[in-house]
Every structure is written in C-alpha cells, then in structure tokens.
C-alpha cells in the first residue's frame, strides 16, 4: 500500500481529534463562562503584561481564591498537556517500525508534559525557584541517552507542550502539537531526504544522478 493512501487514515483521525478537543473546550467555555478563570489559556499575554482591562479576584476573605484557581488550573493544564501529547505519541507509533517501538519511551513522552507543567507552575516567575530547580536537576544527574536522534524531537515537543500548559498557554501548546504532528506526517509521507537524485536536487546540489560523493 502506498504511503499516501496509508496517511489518509491517521490524518483524518488526528484532525478529528484536534477538532473535537477545540470544540469541547470552546463549548464548555460558552456553556459555563465561570470556568474562564480556571482555563489555562492566555498566560503568555499576561506574562507580556498585556492582560485584560478588568479586575480579577486573586484572593478573597476567608481563603485563597488564587490557590483554588491554581490547583484547578494545574489539573486542567496537566490533562490538556496529556491530551495534546497523545497525537504526538501516535506520530511516533506511525513513523516508527513496530520492532523499534520503545514502549517505555512512549510512556515517558506522555508523562513528561505533566511534570514540566507542574514545574512551570511552581517556578512561575521566581528566579530563585528556577535556580533551585536547576540545582536539583544537576544533583539528580540524569544519565539518559536516547536510542534515536529523532527521539530528541519528541522529548522537546513534550517539554514545549508541558511548558505551554504550565504557563497557562494551552493555545500555544495546541499549535505546537499540531505543527509537530502535521509537519512530521508530511515529511514522513514524502519520505523527505530519501530521494536526492531527482532533477531538482541534482540541480540544487550540483551533483549528477549517480554521484554518491558528498
């Protein structure tokens, strides 16, 4: 079966999945506008100081609204991060031969955004906490090597999605997830880099069709 035929199924499923995620979250916000403070969306605008033109209660007498909001926000962010990571992991399964699929790596990929989102929420804008975190990570001294160089991209993607979720920017995390998934799908379908003897690449690289010398 040709790749172009094989790609239509994952493309449809993944697109439907993203559409479903966006529809459900938009629908929830439309039905329950009070959910808005708990949704980890728009965090980057706030970090840039371009927040809304309205007051927002952070803490009310008798208890910390902020803490409740943060806990719920973190819960939603973590769930959102995992939901956005799922298509990325599917890409890993699609583009990797079955015998090379590493179950442990796939599970790590899914869990990584949860941890990164949690860390980002803890650190927030505290330089001291960020340095403490760096110290702790240095002390743990990970000795972890990836089997395939391409796996690094999945790890980076997981970190990016986790960071996006952690700084209340699930919108950006969604774009990252979609960009990665569709980009990888296109490159995999095209088998990009496998055929360099086409007239275009021969012209581009100034090598003739049989020239293997780099």
């Amino acid at each position: 079966m040709r790749k172009s035929v094989r790609v239509s199924a994952p493309l449809t499923v993944i697109t439907a999945y993203y559409a479903l995620l966006v529809t459900i979250s938009s629908g929830l916000l439309a039905l329950f506008p009070d959910l808005h403070p708990y949704m980890p969306i728009g965090g980057v605008a706030e970090m840039l100081g371009d927040g809304p033109e309205e007051f927002e209660i952070v803490r009310s007498i008798g208890g910390s609204v902020k803490e409740q909001v943060y806990i719920l926000k973190l819960a939603i962010a973590v769930t959102g991060g995992m939901l956005l990571m799922a298509p990325v992991s599917w890409m890993y399964f699609i583009t990797t031969p079955i015998r090379k699929v590493d179950r442990s790596f796939a599970q790590t990929m899914m869990i990584l955004p949860v941890i990164v989102a949690g860390i980002a929420m803890i650190v927030q804008d505290s330089l001291a906490l960020a340095f403490s975190l760096a110290g702790v990570v240095a002390a743990v001294r990970f000795r972890f090597s990836l089997a395939e160089p391409a796996h690094t991209l999945y790890i980076f993607c997981a970190i990016a999605i986790g960071l996006g979720a952690g700084v209340s920017a699930l919108g950006i995390a969604t774009v990252i997830s979609m960009g990665f998934v569709y980009g990888t799908l296109v490159l995999w379908t095209l088998d990009y880099g496998a055929r360099l003897n086409s007239p275009f690449f021969s012209f581009l690289t100034s090598r003739d069709h049989q020239d293997d010398d780099l």
């Binding site: 100081g49 007051f55 927002e56 209660i57 804008d125």
Partner: protein
Amino acid sequence: MTTSRLVSLIQLVLLVGGLPVFQACAEASESFSVGGFNYDETRFSQWKLPKSLREISGLALDTRQRLFAHNDEQAIISQVDYREGRRVKKFTLGDPAIRGDFEGIAVANDTFYLIDSAGALYAAPEGEDSSSVSYRLTRTGLGERCEIEGLEYESAADSLLVLCKSPRQKALKGYVTVFRWSLETNALDDGKTIQLDRNALKDSMGSREFHPSGITVVPGSGHLLIIAARERALLELSADGELIAAMELPTAKHHRQAEGIALTAEGDLLLADEGGGKRGRLSVYTAE
C-alpha cells in the same frame, strides 16, 4: 513483626500524626497590628488590576472614602471601587495626559495633587470619566534634596506630606525624611520636617535599611504609616516623627512591590503593588 503489620503501624502513625499537622498548616495565618488596627491574613483579599493600572504607583482616599490611584508614567487618575473590583472612572491631567515619573497622589479640599520624583507638584480639579482636566504646576525644589516617592494630605496641618526616598543632600542621609508642604502658603514648612534616624529601626527590624515608597495618615490619631517596597516593611510614626512601630510585613509574600498605601476610616489597609512587567495588584486588609 511481619511486614504487613509494620505497614499497618506506619499507616496508623501517619494517620494519627498527620491530621493535626495538616490542620495546623491549614489554620496558620499571619497577623499584625498597625495604626491601632489589627489585621489577619484570613481577612485579606487581593485584586489583580487592569493592564492600564500595571504601573500603579500611589493611592489616596478623599473625605468621602473614595479610593483614587494613579499611574507611574502618565498623569492618569483612576477611581477604584476596591470592594467590588472595578474602575469607577478615570481622568487625565492634560490632553494628552502629561508624562513623567509620578510617585504619589493626594486629595485635599477637592483638589487632586500628583508629585513626580523631581518634586514637581501638579494640582488639578476632579474630572469626569474619560475627561482631561487642566492643571497647575508648582516646582517645590524638593527634588534637589532627595528623590521623592510619596504624597499624602495631612488635614490637621493643611499640608501635603512629601516622602523622601533617596537623599541627595548629606544632611538627609541616614534618615527617613518626610517634608511638609503647606497648602496655605504653598511653600515648604521647613521647621516641621520629620526625620527619623534609621538606626532606630535596627532594634525592630534588625536592619537600618528602609527605602520608603508610600505614605498615609491614620485617621483619628494622625500617625503616619510608611511602606517600603524593597524591604516590604511598614513604619508607624507619630505626627512629630516619633517611632511607634516598625516591622517587616508578615504577609510580605503577597507583595511584589508595594508602592501605594491608604487607610480607610474603618481601618481597612489598602496596598497597591506595581506589576513589574505583570499586572498590578491591590490588596485589602480588613480591620478586625
């Protein structure tokens, strides 16, 4: 002892020992007293301010207990309802709003005063919502003595209290200084300047460092409350400059950069924190 019994024992210890600890943690709250009022972290609320008040720099209450705030970089005055969390109105001094490094606001006899760090004093009437008003500028010359950081109206002396942050004159170094600007003579009342030797702070705060950022008058007693953003500390002085209390705010964790302070007639303490790149905050400590 079998492993399962050991595990059960540990679970029991955790259950019995853990509950009171969690309860204690949940109930722990910071409290402090200042200006004759008691405050508790459980009676504390905080607002994130609109982006246009990101650079909030000063607070002032008028005789009707309406709260006004101003921006650091532009002469924009906002009336804020701190109970409901909304802006009632805003108006500007000049059209477009004049630019400067505004450090304090005061309301006296229906006139609004803004002061900049160089000691330029702007006086203007109250404006309608979204309006601009004309202003009168007085160069106090206080900027040559020190960098100005706060303003408040003292009705007992019909004076503006002008707070000095960084002294530029040798004679002012080592002191917390508050000038009195008489509204009657429109001149400095030099004989009534308050100076507190910073060494007096060592006993209470363990340090003589104190960089004032806001000032207010306690209704009734006439005492002065001075907040320091950098040290997140609070001073209470008598009207004569005698030190009543000095403390680091026990609730310092809630304050990024407290630039404005006001105290309502009911004793509610209001603190405004500049955003520092994020949204500013308005904290309300309700008096017991």
